[in-house]
């Protein structure tokens, strides 16, 4: 089982401090890499800017889900109460022409469904966005990477990046002050 038969997934570099990885990330961004990531044991403020990340589309997705929830709630109450089964409750109007006058009593339904759908959108949207669930990731083949949940900081530049070159990327990460620069291979 020679290593050369495995597909090269990425090249990883290890950093010791937040400021080291922060400034290294700025340089990776400025060098024009697009398919890369930082792994830190805790959130680093301003990292999204240092990495040049654009705004996530998740908020737009959540907005669409919330709007869907609102419309679902609106239809649920109006179609059932004014259309399918008009019932007089507390003497409130129950037909399409005057029903808007009693609409305020249906707000809790619309409100709750807006929130429920938004929350679903946020959670499931995040899961889809992150490509989860995933049973394995090539980075787990690199034993030092486990320290990303402890006290080390990692920059990973993936081989799918158009600027990727096994030798140049390695040298570039070295020039940024990265330690333990390691090619990470896929299974196969």
């Amino acid at each position: 089982m020679a290593e050369s038969f495995k597909r090269l997934h990425a090249i990883g570099a290890e950093f010791d401090t937040t400021s080291a990885i922060y400034h290294a990330a700025e340089k990776v961004r400025d060098a024009g890499y697009t398919n890369w990531d930082c792994h830190t044991p805790f959130p680093v403020h301003g990292m999204d800017k240092a990495m040049g990340m654009k705004k996530s589309w998740l908020s737009a997705f959540v907005f669409a889900c919330g709007l869907t929830g609102f419309i679902t709630g609106l239809l649920l109450v109006t179609v059932t109460s004014f259309g399918l089964y008009p019932t007089i409750v507390n003497g409130k109007p129950n037909d399409w022409t005057h029903g808007a006058g009693a609409m305020q009593f249906f707000f809790p339904v619309m409100y709750e469904l807006t929130i429920l759908f938004s929350a679903f959108g946020a959670v499931f949207g995040m899961i889809i966005r992150n490509g989860l669930p995933k049973f394995h990731h090539p980075l787990f083949n690199w034993s030092r990477f486990a320290k990303a949940t402890d006290d080390k900081f990692f920059i990973i530049i993936e081989s799918s990046d158009p600027m990727f070159s096994e030798t140049k990327t390695k040298a570039f990460l070295d020039s940024l002050g990265g330690k333990h620069i390691t090619p990470v291979f896929d299974h196969e």
Partner: protein, 398 residues
């Protein structure tokens, strides 16, 4: 990050830059006070209610500023250090608010029917209600509100200004203690002031959500005023370290209190309509009839729906659009209090005379408080220069 932020130089407000605004405030105060006086001569009932409206508008907004000041210290916030001085300048205007209460104190018999009613014969005051609504207790409460709201915001501002000189962290700890005492204080003062001065306009009426409803409106409106103050100072070349990140966060608070106001307002409405008890529904019966109903609908859509969607967007909160939203929220606070107070004068419907009558005292008090604010502004640096957490506040990101 290791990149050390440059701590900006202490900057003091140059009185010349405020000259234009000072003239405007002087004019508003003059026109407003004369107009309010003329209204009172023509119709004491209308004049007294209009003054109460204007007084309570600024009372809620300033108590709201005091709330943000307390919240900053109690939660040990980083982001708000740079804008805190302006919050202090506004909140400590509460020490003058008692002066504007004097006309109301002189008009209690016009405003509050229970003042002249006899608890022995008035069926509405019978039972335990007169244990709360009686003259000695009413005056004692008013004194307590003004005393406490004089003291605490003043301590916060004085200590903060003292820290500008020596930079000692001990001031931060003192302010934190005062702020933690301030939160229950302002909650109690605003709730019972709302009951004494607004709800007692009709002492037949009950609402268990009155205090929190007023608070929800006050907190949103005062954050809007803080945003406008910061934007104005920036347009004059001050407060440069306040970035779009700070406005983004203040916009989030505007959004939060837009939703909270709607939540509380709706809960109050829902509880009252479902229970359908006479002494509760009387409030909405007047306000949801005829022309008052149109204004009530305008309040619901204007204060909530119209602000809800734009304030969702990050881009708007970071842009100049926040100026429009903040101004609109302050305007809706006007509409909110107008609907609370003015139907007591003309229960049969909206009157333009009532609208014009409220504008004069509003201008008058706004002008006076504006002049006092400019005085406060000139007394200290525009941001707390030696606060130990200023650097963290400057590099704040959402």
């Amino acid at each position: 990050m290791s990149d050390h932020h440059h701590i900006p130089q202490a900057e003091k407000f140059d009185a010349k830059k405020g000259a234009k605004l000072k003239g405007l405030f002087l004019g508003a105060a003059g026109v407003g006070l004369v107009g309010a006086g003329a209204t009172f001569v023509m119709s004491p009932t209308l004049g007294a209610h209009a003054w109460l409206f204007a007084f309570f508008y600024f009372f809620t907004v300033l108590v709201g500023c005091f709330f943000w000041n307390c919240l900053h210290h109690a939660t040990d916030s980083e982001w708000s250090v740079v804008v805190r001085r302006q919050i202090e300048n506004l909140a400590s205007l509460l020490k003058y608010i008692g002066v504007f209460f004097i006309p109301i104190a002189l008009c209690t018999t016009i405003l509050y029917a229970w003042f002249t009613a006899d608890p022995k014969t008035d069926i509405l005051l019978a039972g335990t209600k007169s244990a709360y609504l009686n003259k000695p207790f009413f005056w004692a409460r008013a004194l307590a509100f003004f005393g406490l709201l004089f003291l605490l915001p003043n301590i916060l501002r004085k200590r903060s200004m003292a820290q500008d000189k020596d930079g000692a962290a001990s001031h931060t700890f003192t302010m934190r203690k005062a702020a933690i005492a301030g939160i229950p204080t302002l909650a109690i003062c605003l709730t019972f002031a709302g009951i004494d001065w607004l709800k007692a306009l009709n002492h037949h009426w009950y609402s268990t959500m009155w205090g929190v409803y007023l608070f929800a409106g006050a907190a949103g409106a005062s954050m809007a005023l803080i945003v406008l103050t910061c934007k104005w100072l920036q347009s004059q070349g001050y407060l440069k370290p306040v970035t779009e990140e700070h406005y983004h966060l203040m916009g989030k608070f505007l959004f939060a209190f837009t939703v909270f106001w709607a939540y509380i307002g709706f809960s109050q409405y829902m509880l009252i309509t479902y229970a359908n008890i006479d002494e509760e529904t009387i409030y909405f019966r007047v306000r949801n009839t005829g022309s008052w109903n149109y204004l009530s609908m305008f309040l619901v859509f204007g204060r909530f729906f119209f602000m809800f969607v734009p304030l969702l967007f990050q881009g708007l909160k970071k842009s100049r659009g926040i100026i429009f939203c903040a101004s609109w929220i302050l305007f809706m606070q006007f509409v909110d209090l107008f609907i609370i107070i003015m139907p007591e004068v003309s229960p049969n419907g909206f009157s333009f005379a009532g609208l014009i009558a409220t504008i004069f005292p509003w201008l008058g008090i706004a002008g006076c408080l504006g002049l006092l604010f400019l005085k406060h502004l000139g007394q200290a640096c525009v941001f707390p220069t030696k606060d130990p957490r200023l650097a963290e506040s400057l590099k704040f990101t959402n």
